[in-house]
Amino acid sequence: MKNEITYIGEHLWAGQLGNAFLVLSFVASFVALVAYYLSKKNFEYLKLARTAFYTHSLSVFGIAATLFYMLFNHFYEYQYVWQHSNNSMPMRYIFSCFWEGQEGSFLLWTFWNVILGLFLRRSLNNEWEASVMTIFSLVQVFLASMLLGVYIGDYKIGLNPFLLLREHPDYYNLPFVQSYIQNTNYLAKVDGKGLNPLLMNYWMTIHPPTLFLGFASTLPPFAFALVGLWKRKYTQWQGMALPWTFFSIMILGIGILMGGAWAYEALSFGGFWAWDPVENSSLVPWLLIVGAGHVMIINKNKAGSLFTTHLLAIGSFLLVLYSTFLTRSGILGNASVHAFTDLGMQGQLVLYVLTFVLLCVAFLLDNSLLRVSYVMTSVLMVFFTSIYGYQKFAFYIWITGSIVLTFYAYNKYFPKENDEEELFSREFWIFLGSLMLLLSSLIITYFTSIPVLNKLFDINKAPLKVEDYNLWIAPFAILIAILMACAQFLKYKHSDKKQFFSKLKYSGIAALLFGGICSVPLYFMKDFSEASSLQKWNLISYALLLISASFSVFSNIDYMLRMLKGKISKAGASIAHIGFALILIGVLISTSKKVTLSKSAVIKKAENVNKELDSQKNILLTQGDTLPMGPYLVTYIGKERVGIDVYFKVNYFTLDKDNKPILAFQLQPKIQDNPRMGQAADPDTKHYLNRDIYTHITAADLNTEVNTKNKDAFNSPKNYIGHISDTIYASNAIIRIDSLRTNMNEQQYAKNDSLLEVTAVLKAMNENGEVFWAYPKYIIRKNMIEPSVYEIKELGLKFSFWKINPQDGSVEITMSEKVKNSKDFIVMEAIMFPYINVLWLGCLTMAFGTGIAIIERLRKLKISNSKNAS
């Protein structure tokens, strides 16, 4: 199909350069894999391996640089550039274009892996470098292949970011591409499609790189843990992996919370967390890596939880892979609000995830016969299922087999402790905490995977609702908060029970007092007695969480002051725990006590609204009118269009002592009239220290053109079809078709020249409840219709009754309104989130504490390294 036409202005060299880097990065990572593997036995290969890894790193930088260059210079002959950027886009969003597409985000992930790999390599001695970097290179081989975009037979591997638009399989056949191809100078006319305007904000610039660095940062602990299994050195790696694990906790944590902040600030979910599959699948790896970090600390003092450590460190990375599968394979379909597309990589992603699961189980087996037969059986199963089908059946068998083998390996190969852990020992409580994290991540993963389970087992379960997630996770949050409060006060091996309780006494009492006193007005004043039994349980769990989280804050402050004597460098853990406890408190109060302000203002007009489904959330504001809403009076002032954004100005007033309204603040929630994505509401929030007022527009007219028509003119009439007692809605009144009257009897009808006259009696009620009547007439004289128009002058409404449909007895009436009748209005939702700043404060505190812990661990690692050397 290759034609020899040269097109004017194409920069074919850029794509060729990019593709050269792609191939080089793939080949080099493969060479690095083999060479690092060989250097495990013979250090002479290390030199080759390092060179290969450097080459791989340079080519990854090369790919990124080429893609940037193409985006910067608008090379629209390339599909990726055309798809994600355009001429009118501000240059500061060029980074966002880079990672908007799947290809770019895979590249970003690879890029961070390379950076981490370069640092990791330097920190290791030859022996560890050889094996850890083998695993690292293997991951890089897989990731590099995701960008290749080559075909093996009919099967495409990866998505190539350097495809020409006119050669791209998805676009080749589109008419406009075809019409361009006829013209060798087509580039003079093409502009890109541009970045999705919804993503043109600073969050899109900072959130993806942070989150992907977080995902990448789960790789070093995974590589270490896998090497630990491979070399049967279950403990040695943990000291080295600890700073990396803490780093991962910090960055992934920040990345996830940034996503929450983005959702809260710029998207209209009405909150910061919606238990969406995308959010869940980044939260779960974080929970696991937090668990891993904690059991590693235990193992430094007493190697008792080796299997759990490996399980958590490996699980975290595997779940990152699994989340890639969930979010990029299109399997979530109806389950998520995020836009997902299947780019034809489902099979490949499944294969990658399963390969790494296979690898982990294989490394677990310390018996070469067993290991080889497991791997061979798996490979044969893939082979046969690809020929004969029965994929699901084979998968059930394989996954069951793998789980059985994992348990077998745990029993057979892992060193067991002989002595039992004491109940009052730090290691037991930290272990329990990690177990809680593991359990909650299993539950979240299970619920998030419902679309996958549907496919696997041919069932049809709907995804879980937010309340169900909250219900399940609350008990774990309570237990984790209590463990965070207590564990540091326990000593390793054995602690004195009395001392332990007496140390915790004050913070415990303080928490009971504080939490107890706060939760009475929060949860038990009026809500409780009216609540159903499920809601009662919820309220109790909120109170318990408040008490236990504040216990955690108090006891960690206490520990920092009394035990550590305020020494900051040692207090990383305490500060991070305070941060996490504050996050729990912030999430709890802002979510459980959020008030939909716009609800209270609504006067219920529809009487037969079902009680159970009655979810009044929105308020209607007519331009110029002032309505009470919660503690405020609100007025919709007007709207203004800036580019594709329409801003709606809403003033908030409070009453002063003399009951005079004073302007408190103005919010300008906007609707983006997005040519690519349609309309999207963008909230606006007033931040106070102790609460946020969050608003977004749910319905409005986006037309901002000033109406120049005469205000007393009538708009063009609209037709309504209805029966008696049906309703017609005008801007300023509700009109009911009250009755139909025939004015003449049959004799009159016969006499009067076949005259038929029917009057529609219309009852119109305005906003103040005043009633007006209208009597438009339907007249047929000599088979001709003579409509008569009736005007209600007070309301500025004109009616004409012009048709009766004898089949179903319906009538048709047109109504026209005066231009001035229809005032502009908006429908808005306003929510107050109390104490949401506690959440953000907690985030910062946790990141700060984790940062201190990383520095402290690095210092300790250096000391132990220099000890080993001397």
């Binding site: 006319k189 093409v190 541009g194 177990l435 069932i459 879980l464 609204v609 209607l620 429908v827």
Partner: protein, 127 residues
């Protein structure tokens, strides 16, 4: 018996609890016919908007009520009362998932998910 075993038993108990309750209680994807047969059960009904039938959203009467007609995947057509404001870009939706119950001959939904045309496939150039 070691403490770790007790912990293990608790873990297994929780796991069984989670699976059991979720299988029993969580709603399933379904169609109008099944929802009609069990008016007290909540269903997720998947379907398409019938663009020929009227859509009524009168915020002056009730900003939280929007009625339209949906055809489910089996071709059954029902009037839907959504107890929310009219979603933005409702007309553009290719597929709708409604969450709610049948009441009489109307489906009362308290939530809606819409699938809009994918941003990856609208291959119109801007010239």
């Amino acid at each position: 018996m070691k403490k770790i075993h007790i912990v293990g038993i608790i873990v297994i108990a929780v796991a069984i609890g989670v699976i059991f309750t979720s299988l029993r209680s969580s709603a399933t994807y379904s169609d109008f016919t099944e929802a009609l047969a069990n008016p007290d059960t909540e269903y997720h009904v998947v379907g398409k908007l019938d663009k020929n039938q009227p859509q009524v959203y009168e915020p002056k009467i009730n900003p939280d009520e929007f009625t339209f007609t949906m055809i489910d995947n089996k071709g059954v057509e029902k009037k839907v009362v959504l107890h929310k404001s009219k979603p933005q870009d409702f007309e553009r939706s290719e597929q709708i998932v409604l969450i709610g119950k049948m009441q009489g001959d109307e489906f009362h939904a308290n939530d809606i998910l819409m699938k809009c045309p994918s941003k990856y496939n609208d291959g119109k150039p801007q010239i």
